[in-house]
Amino acid sequence: MPAVLVEQLLNGFQLGILLFLIAAGLTLIFGVMQFINLAHGSLFMFGAYFSVAFQQLTGTFWLALLLTLGASFLLGLVFELALARRLYDRNHLEQILVTFGVILFANDLVVLIWGFEPQFSGIPDLLNGHVALFGDVGYPAYRIGIIVAGLAVAGALYLFVAHTRIGMLIRAGATNREMVALMGVNIKLIYAVVFGLGAVLAGFAGTLAGPIVSVQAGMGERILILAFVVIVIGGLGSVKGAFLGAMIVGGIDTLGRAFLRDVMDLVMPVAAASQAGPAIASMLTYLIMAVILFFRPQGLLPVKTR
C-alpha cells in the first residue's frame, strides 16, 4: 500500500508541475497587465505542435525543445504586439471575447497546417525507461523528468522574479503599473517580456506534455480550465500562489481519482461507488476552489496590492 501511495503522490506532483508551468504564465500576464488570456491554452497547444514539427525536422527531442522555446517566445511577442497590446485598457469581458476568438482561430490554423489527425510526439531515448522505486515498482523516467524540469523552471522563475532587475520591474508593474510608467520605465517593453515569458512557459509545458497526451486541435482548452482553477486558488498575479494552487489541484485530482472510489466502496454498494466515485473525483477540484474562494476570495497567497 505505501508504494501505491508514493506512486500516486508522484503522479499528483507531476500533474501539478505541468499545471504550474501553464498557470505561472497565465497569472503573470493577469497580474502585470490585468489581461485575461483565454488563448493561453493555445500557446500550450502551439508548443506541443512546434515540438512535433521540430522533432521531425531535427530528429532529436532536445534540439526541438530549444527551438520550441524560441518559437514560443516569438509567438508570444507577435501575439502581444498585434493583439494583446490593444486590449489592456479594455474591460475583462472584451478581453475574454477577443481571446476566445483567438482560440477558435488557433484551432483552425493548426488543422490547416498539420491536418486533422493527432500528431505523434516521442519521448527522448534518455528518458525512455523506468526508475526503480521501492525495489520492483518502476516509475516512468519521463515523468520524473517532467518533475525535475518543472522544479528547475520554478526555481529559475523565482530567482528571475525575486532577484533580478527585470523581475523587480515586473513585480512593481503587478503592484502599481501607473507608478512604474511614471517613473520612466518602458512599461511596454516590460509587458512584451512578460507576455513572451508566459508564452515560453506554456510552450515548454506543451513540449513536455506532448509525449503523454494527444497532440490535436483543442488540446489546450482542457488544461486551460484547470489552469484557471489553479490561479484563482493561488491568487491572481502570484507565482508562488500558482505553485501552491497547482500542487493542490494536481494532488487532489490525482488522489481523488486514485482513492475516492475505494473509500466509497466501504460505505455504499460497489456499483454505486463505481459511478459516484469518478464523478465526485472530477468535481472535487471545483469544490475545493469554491470552498477556498468562500473563505479567502483573494486566493491563498495573493499579491499585496496598493
Binding site: L15, G218, Q275
Partner: protein, 387 residues
C-alpha cells in the same frame, strides 16, 4: 367518363416530365467534416470520394450527385442538414452521420420522410432493437458487437480476471457493458473516466496494484492515444496484455507510435482481409491517398457500393420503396468484408476478427487480422426488432 379520361390523361401528362427529370441519383452525406470529430468524418469522405471515383460518378449506371453536409459532431446541425437534404434537395439516399449522438437526432427526421438512411459508422442499440425502422440500415455493425467480440476472445483465451476502463458517457458505458456480456471471468475493476481527462497515471497505478490477468479499454480518439501511450510508458504493456475496442484505428495509430505495437482489438474488417472487394479498395485507396485506409473509410466506401448495387438491381427506378428496400437488403455487392448479409433488423451478420498492431513491410503501423473470433455474429438487439 370523359372527365375521368381527361383527369387520367392530365395526371399522366403531369407525371411524365417528373420521370423524365429523374436522370440523377442524389445522395446526401452528413459527416463530421470540421470540429473535434473531423478526423473520422474526413476519413469517411475519403472512402466515399474513392467509391465515387471508382464508379465513374455513377450509381447503378446512372449519373449520381453527392451532396456533402457538415454536422460538426453536433446533433442540432445534423438535424438542420438532414432536413435540408430530405426536404429541399429531396435526395434519394442519406448516408451518415459519423457519430451516434447525431444519429439519434437525425434518425427520426430522415426515416419519417421515407428516405433511406444508411449508416456508415454509428449503430446505436435502440435503433437495432425496438426502434428499428424499415428505412434505416446500419451497414458497418451494431455498436456493442466490437466489445462483445473482444470479450468473447478474452474469455476463450482463458483470462480469468480483467480490469476494464472507459470514458464516462453513454457509448463508453455501452462498450464496457458489451464486454461484460461475453466475458465470464472476474471483473477486478471497472472505471469510467471523465471525457476531458488527459492524465491516466492514477488509474494505471491502480491497475497495476490490482494485479489482473489482462486489461480491456474502450477509449475513442484522443483519449485512446493518451491511454495507450501512458500504458506503455508505465511499463504495463509488457506485463499485462491490453485488449481494446474502438481505441486503435487507422487515424490514431500514427500518433500512438510504437506504443501501440501488440495492442489487440476486434473488428469486422481488417486491411489484410483476403477478398476481391477489399483488395480492390485497399489498392485504390493507397494509390489515391498514399496511406493505409482505416475502417471508417472502408465502411463509408462499402455503403456507396451497396447503394450502387441496389440502384442497379431496381434498374434505376427508385419510386417503389419496397423494391429499393429489398434491393438494399439483398446486399448483392462485393463488400470489403467478403460475404455480407443483413439481419431482420437491417444490421449485418458478419465475421469478427482479432486485430493486432504490427508494422507492414514499409514500416508503417497497421492493424492486421490474425483470425476469426466469431463467425456470423448476430447482434444482441435483433430479437427486440419487430421487422
Amino acid at each position: 367518363m370523359l372527365k375521368f379520361i381527361m383527369a387520367t390523361a392530365v395526371s399522366v401528362g403531369l407525371a411524365m416530365p417528373a420521370v423524365a427529370q429523374e436522370t440523377k441519383i442524389q445522395v446526401g452525406l452528413i459527416f463530421s467534416l470540421s470540429g473535434s470529430g473531423a478526423v473520422l468524418g474526413q476519413e469517411m469522405k475519403r472512402g466515399t470520394d474513392l467509391a465515387f471515383e471508382l464508379l465513374d460518378g455513377k450509381l447503378g449506371g446512372i449519373q449520381a450527385e453527392f451532396i456533402y453536409e457538415d454536422d460538426q459532431q453536433k446533433p442540432e446541425l445534423g438535424i438542420q442538414a438532414a432536413n435540408k437534404l430530405v426536404r429541399s434537395d429531396r435526395v434519394d439516399f442519406v448516408v451518415g452521420p459519423s457519430y451516434s449522438n447525431v444519429m439519434m437526432a437525425i434518425h427520426g427526421p430522415v426515416t419519417r420522410s421515407k428516405t433511406f438512411l444508411l449508416s456508415p459508422n454509428p449503430a446505436p442499440a435502440p435503433l437495432a432493437g425496438a426502434e428499428c425502422d424499415p428505412f434505416y440500415f446500419a451497414t458497418p455493425f451494431q455498436n456493442d458487437q466490437t466489445s462483445e467480440a473482444i470479450g468473447q476472445y478474452v474469455n476463450d483465451q482463458g483470462f480469468k480476471s480483467v480490469y476494464i476502463l472507459g470514458p464516462n458517457y453513454q457509448a463508453g458505458r455501452d462498450f464496457l457493458a458489451g464486454f461484460k456480456r461475453y466475458f465470464e471471468g472476474e471483473i477486478v475493476g471497472e472505471v469510467y473516466t471523465p471525457l476531458d481527462q488527459t492524465d491516466f497515471s492514477a488509474e494505471l497505478t491502480k491497475v497495476r496494484a490490482s494485479n489482473p490477468d489482462a486489461v480491456f479499454v474502450a477509449y475513442p480518439g484522443g483519449l485512446g492515444i493518451q491511454f495507450v501511450k501512458q500504458y506503455e510508458q508505465a511499463g504495463l504493456k509488457d506485463q499485462l496484455p491490453l485488449f481494446t475496442a474502438f481505441t486503435v484505428n487507422g487515424s490514431v495509430l500514427p500518433a500512438m507510435g510504437e506504443a501501440a505495437l501488440g495492442v489487440k482489438s476486434a473488428s469486422h474488417w481488417a486491411v489484410n482481409l483476403d477478398n476481391p472487394g477489399n483488395k480492390r479498395f485497399v489498392e485504390a485507396f493507397e494509390a489515391k491517398y498514399g496511406s493505409v485506409p482505416s475502417e471508417f473509410a472502408a465502411q463509408a466506401y462499402d455503403v456507396i457500393m451497396l447503394i450502387d448495387s441496389a440502384v442497379a438491381a431496381t434498374g434505376g427506378n427508385l419510386d417503389d420503396p419496397d423494391a429499393v428496400r429489398a434491393a438494399i437488403k439483398a446486399a448483392n455487392f462485393e463488400s470489403v468484408r467478403g460475404e455480407f448479409t443483413f439481419n431482420n433488423n437491417h444490421h449485418p451478420i458478419q465475421d469478427y476478427y482479432l486485430l493486432n498492431v504490427s508494422k507492414d513491410d514499409q514500416g508503417r503501423l497497421v492493424q492486421l487480422s490474425e483470425g476469426v473470433i466469431i463467425e456470423d455474429f448476430v447482434d444482441n438487439y435483433a430479437k427486440d426488432c419487430k421487422m
